[in-house]
């Protein structure tokens, strides 16, 4: 019983944090890649860029066009029609099934840092006026790794879409399965895949948008199973991480390997879409898939 009370208190305090963080993010978003300040250095072209301009420019470097990583809440802001997003699936509490040292602290730390419950949020929204379910992974929360809660929430988002008979758009950004939860994380791959199956069998649309980085267990489950698979320019997408491959084959990887354009050429994604055109494209795709009857 004490645990329950404690969990509730944690929940209450974390809810407060969400509020604070979200108002903060509305003022100055993407504080990690583009920390607060007038001018920041772009990690790719090393040129100073104006923070405010970057935010206005959908977190794209004005100078070199590099797509910065975007926090989940900002992604929803730049993708959905303003004021239409309603978050669903609150109240999940991450546990420590294998009693790993320091895991709980790490989760708490990341909760504080990002203002999120877990590395995935979903809800109802409208994109260019068309109702849809949107799910977004946040790569700032433990590298967006998929543990029990993320797997459950992804599954729930498909089930919510099935219940409402809506299409679903998922933005993936993940390092893969969450190692700290061991075999439970692995099972989330099967769990999310069967959710895609059930959603698909109802004749509903699933658009998977792969953003930087999408690797490991997420690539090998729901991220690769979209009816339509899009990607952002220069996003790293693959099953094994580049370092693992380099160690295995003992040679350096070619330039652009595992990038979105590479996957486009190899035939694994439908299109590479610039972030500024993402919303229009999604709106168009949703419009294409409206029922004839």
């Amino acid at each position: 019983m004490n645990d329950l009370i404690k969990a509730f208190e944690n929940r209450k305090s974390s809810k407060k944090q969400i509020k604070i963080a979200r108002t903060k993010s509305q003022i100055s978003s993407a504080k990690i890649d583009v920390p607060v300040g007038l001018y920041e250095k772009c990690p790719t072209c090393k040129e100073p860029v104006n923070t405010k301009t970057t935010i206005e420019n959908n977190f794209i470097c004005k100078n070199c066009g590099d797509h910065f990583r975007v926090r989940a809440i900002d992604r929803i802001k730049i993708t959905s029609d303003s004021g239409t997003f309603v978050e669903k699936g609150h109240g999940y509490i991450t546990l420590n099934p294998l009693f790993q040292d320091g895991y709980e602290e790490k989760v708490a730390e990341n909760k504080e840092k990002t203002g999120l419950d877990e590395a995935y949020i979903y809800g109802y929204c409208e994109i260019n006026g068309i109702s849809s379910v949107i799910g977004v992974m946040d790569s700032y929360f433990l590298m967006g790794s998929m543990g029990s809660v993320v797997g459950e929430k992804v599954t729930k988002s498909f089930e919510y879409a099935m219940y409402k008979k809506l299409p679903i758009v998922i933005f993936t950004a993940s390092g893969g399965a969450r190692m700290q939860e061991g075999i439970f994380s692995l099972m989330q791959m099967a769990k999310t895949s069967q959710a895609v199956l059930r959603h698909s069998e109802m004749g509903l649309l699933y658009i998977s948008v792969l953003t930087h980085p999408t690797t490991g267990g997420v690539t090998a489950s729901f991220a690769s199973l979209g009816d339509i698979t899009l990607a952002e320019p220069n996003a790293l997408i693959g099953f094994a991480g580049p370092r693992v491959i380099e160690q295995t084959i003992n040679q350096l990887l070619p330039e652009g390997f595992q990038r979105a354009e590479f996957l486009l050429e190899k035939g694994f994604i439908d299109a590479v879409i610039h972030r500024n055109e993402m919303k229009t494209t999604l709106g168009k795709l949703l419009m294409f898939h409206r029922r004839f009857q």
């Binding site: 294998l98 029990s148 797997g151 190692m179 692995l186 099972m187 099967a190 895949s193 069967q194």
Partner: protein
Amino acid sequence: MDILAKERKVRELESKILELGNDEIISKLRQEIENYKQEAMTNLTAWDRVLLARHQHRPVASEYIAYLCDSFMEFHGDRNFSDDKSIIGGIGIVNGTVVTIIAQQKGKTVEENLIRNFAMPHPEGYRKALRLMKQAEKFRRPIITLIDTPGAYPGLGAEERGQGEAIARNLLEMSSFTVPIIAIVIGEGGSGGALALGVANTVMMLENAIYSILTPEGYATILWKDASLASKAAEVMKVTSYDLEELGIIDRIIKEPLGGAHFNKMETFKNTKLAIVNELQDLKQFTGIELRDRRIEKYRNYGFFQRFNYDNLKGVK
């Protein structure tokens, strides 16, 4: 002293017997060895079981198939790219039931292992498996998969041909089949590469097999930045059959002879066959749709978390 050192000692004692002539001494020594085995090879640590799962003399998939099936015919190729030799698939008869068998095949020698790519499949391997499983669905044959892989191969070609997509597709399609699927982890069950053949109605494990999200070495490297802590990692990762049965991830453990499957292969095969025949019999009572629904429900429920129920503040689900 880990399990391999103990095993070496047993072998040493056994070889000594052969040098002796006297019957009485032999039987006495035999008894001694037996006692030592009993003492040294029970209560294995997780790391011992990892070593056993990777043991060079551990029976490989083809040996199991040879014992399980009265007549087995292998089929090759994914019809798109090539034939991946790290996965073998075909049709055989197990105790009078025609089944499709898909298995990850390790090699017995270095040369064979190079051909088999140490049982680390490429995407075409998974696509071959899917092709054969779809045929099994068409002709209503039960599917049996034997899992034994360190993981899917991380290489240039594998990435170019969509390793992630191939695994994901298998997970999705295996959820949809209406024939019974039985998966057995016979050695190493490493990460998504193992799960891609492991979405089943019944998941069984040999006693000394392991099933994990990645190798203990990889885990130690990622979380503790030190690969030499692998034995500790094996302990905390819960990789053994007993741990996983307790966590509810697997349904049944298949017993191995004392010291590991390689000490008495026939016994191992016999136990495995018995388990398969039993499970096939059990799954016969369900219709196709029931099998499918039960499988989906089983995987739907995996996860370890709490949810705060706002509608009813009294309870946590």
